[in-house]
């Protein structure tokens, strides 16, 4: 989808068009695959939390506080691919 197509969707609050784009992006052009990829990343993140391991919340709050929303959004996309790769069920052909 073109950027203008997405910006129009934002202007019209057409969330279906927007999430469809995300699924297409994460699923390498396959919307159904993208939906599964989103689930896969969240499941992997959840699994890492079940034993309530120690985590660096100071880092988390500092990151949320100091970084721009755009950087955090960028990180969010990286985290998606990180958790998908960590799951061992990598559908993409290359690497990031």
């Amino acid at each position: 989808m073109s950027l203008q197509y997405l910006k129009t969707a934002v202007g019209e609050n057409d969330t279906e068009k927007l999430i469809r784009y995300v699924r297409l992006h994460l699923g390498d052009g396959n919307e159904a695959a993208g939906r599964k990829e989103i689930d896969k990343a969240w499941i992997e993140a959840l699994k890492l939390m079940l034993d309530v391991p120690a985590t660096d919340r100071e880092f988390i709050f500092a990151t949320l506080d100091k970084q721009t929303p755009a950087t955090l959004a960028h990180l969010y996309f990286y985290l998606h691919f990180y958790f998908v790769r960590r799951s061992g069920a990598w559908i993409h052909d290359g690497t990031f």
């Binding site: 989808m1 073109s2 950027l3 203008q4 197509y5 997405l6 068009k17 784009y21 995300v22 297409l24 992006h25 390498d28 052009g29 960028h74 996309f77 990286y78 998606h80 691919f81 993409h92 052909d93 290359g94 690497t95 990031f96």
Partner: protein
């Protein structure tokens, strides 16, 4: 992009419709074209460059941003004397199985080096160029990345450019 002239017929009939179905709104219409320049001397006397959308880069350089939802509008210079073992691929949008076995199938740097050594090509520019093809903002792509690569190609003294999509 659409607006193909008779001289640039698409290789796969229906390709654009498929892309439009999967990525609605991604196509732009191109009404003006820059004419191809006729090569004024033999290739054996020509300084050639190579521009690829394969996402090839020297190891140790910042990886292409393949996760970005809009694209990465940067390019990498790949020294034309590079050894394949010093290069790597950063992209996730095309099958790399073959390229990981032999990078030359997508970025034929060793073939170009051989052809230069044999005198088929006059010489290579100091650098070859690569970027990733997943770009959702064609206007920005044309305004920034394409112009920057063109400037870099000219600065390298290229007399002809071999363009290769991944």
């Amino acid at each position: 992009m659409t607006g193909l002239s008779d001289e640039t017929k698409q290789l796969r009939p229906g390709l654009w419709e498929t892309i439009n179905e999967r990525y609605p709104g991604s196509m732009i219409t191109k009404g003006e074209f820059v004419s191809l320049a006729r090569l004024g001397k033999p290739v054996s006397q020509t300084r050639l460059t190579f521009v690829s959308s394969a996402g090839i880069q020297p190891k140790g350089t910042m990886p292409f941003d393949v996760v970005h939802p809009v694209g990465d509008f940067s390019f990498r210079r790949v020294p034309s004397a590079s050894r394949v073992s010093n290069l790597e691929i950063h992209q996730i949008k095309y099958p790399t199985t073959g390229a990981l076995k032999d990078l030359n199938v997508i970025f034929p740097i060793e073939r170009l080096q051989e052809l230069t050594k044999e005198g088929v090509i006059g010489e290579l520019t100091p650098n070859l160029f690569s970027f990733i093809g997943y770009q959702m903002d064609p206007a920005r792509f044309e305004r920034t990345l394409a112009e920057e690569i063109a400037d870099a190609v000219v600065a390298d003294g290229a007399e002809a450019a071999l363009l290769c999509p991944a």
